[in-house]
Symmetry: C2
Subunit: 213 residues, 2 copies
DNA sequence: TAGATTGTTAATCGATTAACAATC
DNA sequence: TAGATTGTTAATCGATTAACAATC
């Protein structure tokens, strides 16, 4: 729609704003200034105003921001006003945990199909859904509306699975395999890599640095 | 040790370098230039050289970098040459998945104690370890060497659990609860937040943007 | 109207990229 | 020695912060 490109840094902060606004709403706070919010979130008020103004003027001079309105608006930016049916491929530890985790949430992101290549897992029920074989994936995708594909298979199989998902029409992949899927997929497919082990390594690095001081 | 502060951006890239070097090693590649590596990783050669030179001159003019040596050196920076015994608090979907996930890896990061406040879970065995009650946490930490604490409890209890861990001497927290634990803990405690739902929201935002184009 | 606080422009800061002299 | 490629300095780019006029 808009020509203006919004920087990755700004986008990555949106969910955090959303979370704080949810909290404020729950506390019954009706309005908040960038200054107050900045103190809570430990960022500068300037950054908050800059960030929000990428998307339009949501505030009002002399008043601040309406919490409920801002919350709802950011929610819409994050597309949380729409359903996101999901398929999960690889029902090992992580795939299983994500299935259960998303099942337990309000219905914004929710799994509708689980797939695994292990014949022993086929038919097992996880998060109220039967685990299906990989041979069923293509047909399932063509018959059901699916927004997002979760990849939770070993890295060796991840690229192949990603391609199957893309062939089935999936445009968004949430990837837990330790491989950079974004590098070898069509440009119109969005990928969010969650490299847990790398996150743990960063923690390890930071711990070590602190100890050396 | 060193006075020089290394930027967060650089540190966050280290695990990715490590991963590519591991791959190269597995392929039997002995040496690599910043240019070749940059093509693989889809970053600039300049950035690679800048990043690595934060930690010292690991390369050699006219030759490039020795893969095995660089791999090992970055591993040491990430403190992967040492054991990291872990306790996990909250053995729900995610805590359980992390316990199994880390159990299955080579012994660098591995759980040695699991804790949950739910009496029904007490005594259950996950990843070969018994789930213990929260009342046992303090004693366990004083008797066992523990590097890292994983928090996988609901956000309502996360701050409290974090404080218990810190009181028990834990200096590094890998946090899965949707709360910014770093804001209310002592400065010498390092926190790495893994906010999965926020990652999923970013994916949702990016998907929506792509569709609007 | 006066006070408060936004939206937005300008200034600063930091991170990335380019260029090249040093050196293996 | 000549060629290759690093380590490092300088230039550029982008993101954050500060400042303030606009305005509710």
């Amino acid at each position: 729609m808009e020509e203006k490109v919004i920087s990755k840094a700004v986008i990555s902060r949106l969910p955090r704003y959303y979370r704080y606004l949810e909290e404020l709403k729950a506390e019954g706070v009706e309005r908040i200034s960038s200054k107050e919010l900045s103190e809570r979130m430990q960022v500068t008020a300037s950054q908050i105003r800059q960030d929000l103004n990428n998307f339009g003027g949501f505030g009002q001079q002399g008043y601040g921001y309406n919490v409920a309105y801002l919350h709802e608006t950011i929610g819409k930016l994050l597309c949380l006003d729409k359903d996101h049916p999901i398929v999960i491929v690889g029902i090992g530890n992580i795939g299983r945990a994500m299935a259960e985790y998303l099942k337990n949430r309000e219905a914004v992101f929710y799994p509708i199909g689980l797939f695994d290549k292990d014949p022993e897992r086929k038919g097992q029920v996880v998060a109220d859904l039967p685990i299906r074989g990989m041979d069923e994936l293509k047909g399932f995708l063509s018959e059901n509306p699916v927004d997002i594909g979760i990849i939770a298979v070993p890295k060796e199989n991840a690229q192949e699975v990603a391609e199957e998902l893309v062939n089935g029409g999936i445009k968004a992949i949430w990837n837990f395999a330790l491989i950079d899927l974004n590098l070898n997929l069509p440009d119109d497919v969005v990928v969010e890599n969650v490299h847990l082990l790398e996150s743990l390594m960063r923690l390890s690095y930071n711990l070590d640095m602190k100890e050396k001081k």
